[in-house]
Symmetry: C3
Subunit: 100 residues, 3 copies
């Protein structure tokens, strides 16, 4: 099943996570604060951000991705999908039942 | 090699991680605190949890998974396996030597 | 595209991340503090570390891995590659343009 890795501004993290779960695009979101280093317009920048690890279904992934793009304040957001090679059966069933 | 992604209550994280390493089911565990948002019994809930990123071998994965289920206080625990596409050779050898 | 999972001593995290981005081996690095439990010389040890999640290209991966090995203070560093099953197109293009 997919886990979607998204980085967001820390002050937007809670609202984006709540929206994805309220709209049944995700069953759960784990939010982790991080320190980011990146190159932008030729300069090395650093910033505090939050990583969202978003749990959804194969069938729900495309709608989730489109909705994150809409909600996201960045011009070029990090949205990447990582597929689990195995998921505990009852946890997978819960995600299937929870995501529309 | 597998990295197993598990979310646990923060106050149980240290003991579960130590048990998995002491019993040679894992070579190492990286524990990261997170803020979780999820749907349960029809309501959107939030909670503080800890993500365990557990390093083991292909051969050890099934026993590790069964032991995490035993140790875990949740009815429906998040236990998911992600396979590395590449692992630094000496690190892979260390995991192989450390896990029973 | 690859995300490389590296654990480093917390006091070396910022410099390693900055070096990888300055040398155009990575487009961005997300650094997350963690608590690690591992077996070393037959004993279970715990320590505070930082996980670096390093975003690069397929073509850049081998050079990035070699450079992390050079910069890393550990004898046996955790360097593992996880491949995204999907990456938002504009984010992937940004990584392609940013990594040499």
């Amino acid at each position: 099943m997919p886990t979607v890795y998204v980085t967001v501004p820390t002050d937007a993290a809670e609202e984006i996570a709540a929206t994805l779960v309220e709209e049944r695009l995700a069953a759960c979101v784990n939010a982790v604060d991080c320190h980011s280093t990146y190159r932008w317009d030729g300069r090395v920048e650093t910033d505090t951000e939050t990583i969202l690890l978003v749990k959804t279904t194969d069938a729900g992934y495309d709608r989730l991705k489109a909705r994150i793009e809409e909600l996201h304040p960045y011009e070029v957001p990090c949205i990447e999908r990582f597929d689990a090679a195995d998921t505990l059966e009852c946890f997978g069933s819960w995600i299937d039942d929870t995501v529309d």
